[in-house]
Structures are given as C-alpha cells and as structure tokens.
Point group: C2
Chain length 383, copies 2
C-alpha cells in the first residue's frame, strides 16, 4: 500500500512523535527584542523596530524599499491599488493559491480572473496564459479588455507556491505584451530566489507575509516590496491613514488604511529575520531527508526547486502520480491519524462559492494538481 | 495672557518635564504574558491569549461576546457589514471624529453622511439629527432613503469623543424611528459607562480600539462587541478568512478578511486589561488636578463627564470660549514648545479632501467646537 510506504518514509525522515505542518521557531533574540520593545513603551504604530525591520528586509531581499504592514492580504490589496487596479478591473491570479490572493482583489472591488499553473513549478503558466489572452483580451486604447466581460484587465499576480519560484521571465513578457502591471504575491517565498534575484522584487511591487505559518513570523504581518521610491512612500502613506505630516493638524488627503505593523510585531520580526538563513538551510536538509526516504516510492515525487531557482522549501510537497490521485484522502487521513500532519492544496479558487462567478481560463493542470498535492511536516529545525 | 495662564496651570498640575499627549503604561504582567506567549510558539492567529482576551473583555464590558481583531478600523468595517451596510448605502457618522470612522464606511463602498454634535457631550446631537432626517429622509418600503441622493440610509454610528459618552438614549430613539442599525464606535471609550452600562453595548454591535494611544493597548488591535451570538459567530468567521472548520480542507464560504488579532498582541492586551481600573482612577485624578489648576481661567473649561455617565477621561480636553477661539493655534504652539504636548480636535470629516463630497447635515456646533478644543497630556500614571 502506498499509504504505508509514505508513513514509513515520513517516520524514517522525522522519527517518532507528532509533527505539525509548520511550527514557528523562536531560538534567537525574540524574547530579548520584544522585552526591549515593551520597556520602551513604543509597542504600536511608530517605533525603532518597524524602521529596522523594513530596512533589514529591504537589504535581505535586495528591494530598494520595504513597507511593513499588518498582514500579507493587506500588503497585496495596497500593492494592487498602487498598481493601478480600480473597482471593476480584472486581475489575473492563479486558481491554485490561498484564498487571500483572491480576497485582496475583491477588497478593492476588482474581479479575480483565474489562470492555470504549470505542473513543474506549481505557478502560473506563461504559455497557457498567453494563449488564453490571445483569445480573450482585446486592445482598448493603451490597455486590454476582456472581450467576454468588457472589463479592463489591469494586473497580473504570480504567486510562488509553497515557496517555489514560478516562471517570472515568461510572465514578465506576457505582462509587458498585454500592458499588465505585474505584482508578485511572494507571501510564501521569503528567501526564494529566481535567477539569483529575490522573489517579490521582479514586478512593479511585490508582497510577503509573516503570518504564524510562514518561514518567519511577526505574529501577523506582511510587507510591500518595491524598487520605486515614489510607490514606497505612497504605500507608507496609504497604510498609515494617509495623514499629512504636521506637528498637530490632522489632515488626511485620501481614503487611507489602518494597515501599519505594530512595533511589537516588528520586534519579533527583527529577531526572526536574523535566523532566516539558518531556517533555509534546515528546510533544505529536510527536503534531502524526505527525498532519500521517498526515493523508492514510484507513485510519488517530491517537489524540488525549478531550475535556475533557489526555493525556500517553505512547505515540503508530495505530488502523487495520476494513477493514485484517488488515494489522496486516504493518505491525508492515515498520516494525520498517525500524528504526521499533512494537508492537501487549497481548494481551487473558482470552486469556492464567493469566487465561482469570476472569469477563468481553462484550468486542466490545476484541476489535476489539486487532487495530487500533499504538504508534509515542514518546520525549520526538523533536520 | 490666557496662554501663560494655561501653561502655568499645566505646570501646576503636572510639574516640570516633557509630557506627551498619551503614553501607554506597562506596569503589570505585560512582559510575563508576552514571554509566555513566545515560549508557547503560539504567537499568531490562534492561541489561548486571544480566547482569554475576548472572554475577559466581554466580562468587563458586559457584552455577551467580544471578537478581537487587528484594529478599531477593521472592527468598525466588519460591524457595519454585519449591520447590513452595503455598497452605496449611507451611514450617519459624526463630522467630529477621527478619520477611521469615515474610512471604515468607505472601505465597504458605502458613503459617510456627516451629522452635528452637542457642545455638552461632543457626540452626535439626537435632536439636530432628528430635525435633519425629518427634512432629508423619505420612507422607501421598510427603510428610509436620502431624498437628495436617492441612497438608502442604513446605519447610525455614534462615537464617544475623547471617552465621553454621547446621548445614546436619544440616538437609539432616532435609530428606531428611521430604521437605522445603531453601531457604536466606542474606540475611545473603553471603561466609559452610560447610565451604568458600558459604551459599545447599546447598539446591534459596538467596536473598541487598542491602538497605542488608547487607554489600554495591544500594540494594534480592536474588538467587536455584541449581545447577539449569531452576529458574534459571523464576525469571527468573517475576520478569519471565512474558512469552514475541517481537518484539512480549505473551504471558504464568503469573501472573508484577514483581520484576526495575533495571540502576541492579545497577550499584551490581557495584561493591560488587568490594569484598566487603575488607569481609570488615575485619569479621573488627573482631571481633578486639571480642574483645580484651571478653575480661575475664565476663558476655558475642562470637559467633564455628561450627567448619568462615567467617562474614562481618555483624553483630557480644554474647551475655549468663543471669544478666544482665534488664540487656539497660539496656545498649541506655546504648549508644544514648552514640552507640554497638546493637539486640536481632528479636522472635521467634511473638510478632508477624500470625504468632502459626502452628504452632510448643517454642522454649526462642530464647526465652532473644532476651533475651540485642545487635548492635554492625559497618560495614566500622571496623577
């Protein structure tokens, strides 16, 4: 039975005990920085840790600027707004993603337009997308409209699934040809490089997440990355209630958001960022262990980083061959019953009630993939 | 000169040194709880401190339920959505409020409709509002429309300015007669009672804020209060991505928000809530000191709690008589230059560019008040 082989392989890699899918790890300066933050009384929207976290995150990713916000969804919503997305525009996103990608679009009153992914990267497929746009997009002035809905198609949001960089080169070319602003959802890929450059820094703007399940966490948090100072300044302004600087006057010049990251959370983030290289190394070792343990199971393969990419291996992922797709739920059941926490890929966006009326390309690859992906225990420190 | 009398009075009340407008105070279990939270690894969206904070906040306010969220703006946005506010509805809010009240309405695609306040409470004036609605609201089925704009008027949002409860009894009667859902913006009034009952618990839903400048803080945070279990369950669901409970499946049944309060922030909140009675007592003592120090300055009065109310005295407030309204900026300048941080009331909502096209009642009282209010150093622990 494949399920028994998988459980044996997981035990060989992990040993005995219960293993959650992904646990944060606080083995650095977390307690120290957070204590200092509370002692300073600057726990809220202004503080030295926010500035430091933003500057260290920019340095780490190579983005010119990073703007810390309250979570990854907020980051993406604001990045899309700064990317020119307006009410009733369409935004192309993968059907295979966490619901936050689609929600961020909806929060702007815009419409997600779902596209297919590649089996190889789990990310948007530029060739399939180009074919689809060729059939559905028509020029309207300098931009393109969806001829089926009449709506402007304004932006393209690649997402780096489970940390694996997608084909950014191909997607940038499609974005260029169809006048789409590319905004990267790098929520899962902090530490992942594409051709040696950090994910999240290829488009007009990019976003990352520091939710509790991510490779590093601030409790809840996210950030907007950009190489454009004007966009970064605007992101900071919009996410801090759009208040104009003044010694006492309260003038706000646009409808802003209360999306700033509290200094308390940034303190945790500074400590976590210091440990990111160690977490990356540990996750890579864990992938090696899983590979060794799984190598004789013909019906499954482990996701490995696409060529020319360095993945953060955020969530280790098993891909079942077609022939055993119908065994997925049994594998989920048996592994979870054994204390080895696993989960399937997210339900595809177009299959969720709140998004099911949204436009979509043909989705053969993700409809197959969604039945065949299983995430494995992936915490840093397991190997 | 009035300005010199005011500075002398402030020095008599506060002593020498620099005094910010409002500093948080961490003299309880803050370090202990936050350390324990980090050690538990549950710093993010699920955790014991979130549950405890919600249940202790409900117990403290007397609300049947409290749902902790990421900030007060998010709390109000979701409370309004649960109060039936839809895109293009109008929501009556005070013109004299922090911009978050108006932004929360705008984030739903709804339209703020500004109303006047009472000099006595600084909150919405039910008599003026009733007169205004008599002239502008026309019945449409079971509800009322603004005859000037054609839009439905769906909700009424009283805000308890600087912690002073407004005339809830009068406003509840107006809401009843015009079929408006009353949603209380109690962002500033944690600890304030109206007829012995906690503010935020009178309407269908109420909201509070724990931003760094509030009477207690979670770094950033807010909560939705309600006595309706169904609304509370829905608030929790909507603010946590609307995911249906399942061992592994990712089904979301509506467009949800990522608005949960991280456990790290709730840990701080639990410690702060324990000290709230002490903070309230200190702020009341400070008001007494300011009153004694200001009693001989004929041109100013201190805001005191309305009758039948217990105010939290969140921000101590000086009201200038009309005759010296033109000296306000000079007083702000001189006090801030002296290290005594003061600030005026917020710029009125209808005078801000992003909200200036919104409908409004006549606003004579707030247009006068806005020139005559000065907040004084108000931190707990000053007296």
């Amino acid at each position: 039975m494949v399920v028994d082989s998988i459980i044996n392989a997981l035990r060989n890699a992990l040993g005995e005990g219960n293993f959650p899918l992904h646990e944060p790890r606080f083995t650095g300066n977390e307690q120290h920085y957070v204590q200092e933050c509370i002692a300073s009384t600057y726990v809220s929207s202004v503080g030295a840790y926010v500035d430091r976290f933003e500057s260290e995150l920019a340095a780490y990713t190579g983005a010119r600027r990073a703007v810390a916000v309250v979570n990854g969804t907020a980051a993406l919503q604001v990045a899309l707004q700064l990317g020119g997305v307006k009410e009733n525009d369409e935004v192309i996103i993968p059907a295979l993603t966490f619901v936050a990608t689609a929600n961020a679009v909806q929060h702007l009153g815009a419409v997600p337009h779902f596209a297919d992914s590649e089996e190889y990267t789990l990310g948007l497929d530029p060739r399939a997308l180009r074919d689809w746009l060729k059939s559905v997009a028509e020029p309207a002035g300098d931009e393109y409209r969806n001829r089926q809905t009449g709506r402007r198609i304004k932006a393209l949001v690649p997402m780096h699934t489970f940390g694996h960089p997608c084909d950014l080169e191909g997607l940038l070319a499609v974005a260029h040809d169809y006048r789409l602003n590319l905004v990267e959802d790098a929520a899962e890929s902090l530490g992942s490089l594409y051709h040696g450059q950090h994910t999240g820094t290829f488009g007009l703007l990019g976003t990352v997440s520091f939710n509790g399940n991510k490779i590093i966490t601030t409790g809840g948090g996210g950030a907007i990355l950009t190489n454009d100072d004007r966009l970064a300044d605007h992101a900071k302004h919009l996410t801090t209630t759009a208040k104009l600087p003044h010694r006492w006057d309260y003038e706000h010049d646009e409808v802003g958001y209360n999306f700033r990251m509290p200094n308390l959370n940034a303190a945790l983030g500074c400590a976590q960022l210091e440990q990111l290289p160690e977490f990356l190394a540990s996750k890579r070792r864990l992938m090696g262990r899983y590979q060794a343990a799984m190598k004789d199971i013909a019906e499954v393969r482990l996701m490995t980083e696409p060529s020319n990419s360095d993945s953060n291996y955020w969530l280790q992922t098993l891909v079942l061959v077609d022939a055993i797709a119908d065994q997925r739920d049994g594998i989920l059941q048996a592994t979870n019953d054994a204390g080895l926490m696993t989960r399937p890929a997210w339900r595809l966006m177009h299959q969720l009630a709140p998004h099911q009326e949204c436009p979509r390309a043909p989705l053969p690859v993700v409809e197959s993939l969604a039945q065949r992906l299983i995430n494995l225990p992936s915490s840093a420190g397991l190997a």
